[in-house]
Subunit: 351 residues, 2 copies
DNA sequence: ATGAAAGCGCTAACAC
DNA sequence: GTGTTAGCGCTTTCAT
């Protein structure tokens, strides 16, 4: 099917070593020989096999990338960042998705090891106690986590606890006291757990009692009954909801409106991730924004350093924690005392 | 660094052939031998090298994927579809992005050829007259295009012309007559050109005169002056805009509102792509929706067939054209005669 | 049931 | 400047 270095050698009447030189160190060759070889290469559509090369032992210039899904723009963005940075260093990406499933994580990493990737960048469900990662450590395959937030391993992320605390503080500063946190599955995301800690911190710092977190199914059309129960009493219900990610926040907002509650007038909603499209919603989503592309980029930089690649600014240390920001948006509003709200509502209702 | 089949052989006191059999045809081995070998494999963290295997000549079980960018959810979605389908056939993805740049397209395909991918799935800027693809044809490397819309090559897409025509027809059926089409760069997208044809068809079929298309910079904050000029005369300005993709539509809607025009009251806007988040906008984006994940999935199925992979439903032909749908949304509204509009505005304005 | 050896496409050490 | 050759990790005859 493909022509080989031997075909080219035969075609141009030289040895395979000469062809190899034409490819790798053309300056060592006689100009005529070089021209002749190049002609043959052209004529035979020869394209050197990375396989043969890689077998000779050096690097494969392949990085494995493991992400839960591309349906979540957060990961699509960070993949974009990894791709940009790795391409610039002439590395290629081998992509595997896991759908947050640990069996798939295992298979992904096995595959990548078989492919002899030089290193890998991964986002895993649980970064703390993860046998797969321990094994990578043991065998010495360099890896960097992206988005996972742990001090035990090389991991590029925002400080999820502080980011959540800052987000919730923004709610508290607006006078909210009854803030409830909603999360997807904690089991699937160590980050969600840290965000809950941040929520707790903010509440306790303000002398408030945190609610237990409410875990929600991501794909539900309607809001869960448990949440509706929480919302039934207008005087005691939470005045603000903190959602562990933007997708959840959008689902919740839709559900709230469906249930006849106005956001942010009746209830404020804050998301987490800062996905770009959130800003395009008619009421722009308030969210704790994370620099996803930069997370990908920096994950690569860490990996590149571990791989011993030449570094543009070798002297500096590359951060593991990247800054988050609270994107105010329009789905959070100052808390209004029920009395004041009633008063305000009587005179002029429709504006 | 990595242990090899030879290490395992030495460790367990057998030949490398036996180790190879333990890996590939364990049933041929004596149970005890097998157990012994497996122990050694375990002990040495041995993981067979795909490189060595692939060198023996067969398939690499690698597919190259070439997309313009992952920042556009359309491609992230179709990549997701490719990934799901290819993984199911135990194929791995090698990802390259091109930013619509033909030099990068060239490098991407070269890289992928060097990696000896068994085939590739690509979305290119120009599918019709593309030397790169011609070369692939010549050397016999199987490929399938995704999203590109051409009869000259294997390409999975919606019928862009008809899809655009149907979308514009939906506007015309609502009484609009002055419909203007906005597009990103035509040079970057053969699809945009087909969509303009569809627009023309719809207009001409309705006995209307198509406008020239207006090309717009994607990253502009403000609307282009040329468009603003078009919009200056309330009585003659277009009453509906057809945008060649959703991203553009969202930018335009924002710009229109910024310019004091209400969508859809003053002007209707129709997008193209049907990106999921469009439905989440407060006024849900009206759009011609394309089944992106399915496009990826089907592109894989075509490729798989070309690769001679076992096929679940081998008998059936796999479609190249997938159905589009016009997602009505809320950014298009029936046309109202200026007179009627004036009349309607006088009595009761704020609702 | 197992081993010996050839060979896949390439690079690099060593000759000339 | 160019050729010869060994060997990278594996699979696969062909023997035994």
């Amino acid at each position: 099917m493909h022509s080989t270095i031997r075909d080219v050698a035969a075609h141009s009447g030289v040895s395979i070593a000469t062809v190899s030189r034409a490819l790798n160190t053309p300056e060592l060759l006689n100009a005529e020989t070089l021209a002749k070889v190049r002609e043959s290469i052209e004529a035979l559509d020869f394209m050197p096999s990375a396989r043969g090369r890689q077998l000779r032992g050096v690097r494969t210039r392949l990085v494995g990338v493991v992400v839960p899904t591309l349906a979540n723009p957060v990961f699509a963005e960070s993949l974009q960042g990894i791709d940009e940075a790795a391409s610039a260093s002439d590395y290629r990406l081998m992509l595997m998705t896991t759908a947050y499933d640990s069996a798939r994580e295992r298979r992904a990493i096995e595959t990548l090891r078989e492919q002899r990737v030089d290193g890998l960048i991964a986002t895993v469900a649980d970064a703390e106690s993860n046998p797969l990662l321990d094994e990578l450590d043991r065998i010495g395959l360099p890896y960097v986590l992206a988005h996972n937030d742990t001090a035990r391993r090389a991991a590029v992320s925002v400080d999820n606890r502080r980011a959540a605390r800052d987000g919730v503080s923004a709610l508290l500063q607006r006078g909210h006291k009854r803030v409830l946190m909603l999360a997807g599955s904690f089991a699937e995301s160590d980050r969600a757990r840290l965000r809950y800690l941040g929520y707790e911190n903010a509440m306790l710092d303000a002398g408030l009692t945190p609610y237990a977190p409410l875990e929600m199914d991501f794909n539900a059309e309607e809001l869960p009954l448990e949440l509706l129960a929480h919302l039934s009493d207008p005087l005691r219900r939470p005045t603000a909801l903190f959602c562990s990610n933007d997708r959840l926040a959008m689902i919740v907002i839709r559900g709230l409106r469906h249930a006849g509650l106005s956001v942010p007038r009746d209830i404020s909603v804050l998301g987490f991730d800062g996905i770009p499209l959130g800003e395009w919603l008619s009421t722009a989503l308030s969210s704790v924004a994370t620099p996803n592309r930069e997370i990908g980029r920096h994950a690569w930089r860490h990996l590149a350093r571990r791989l011993g690649l030449p570094d543009s600014d070798a002297a500096n240390l590359i951060p593991f924690k990247l800054p988050h920001s609270v994107r105010t948006g329009a789905t959070i509003a100052p808390y209004i005392e029920p009395a004041a709200r009633m008063a305000a509502l009587e005179p002029e209702n429709p504006a």
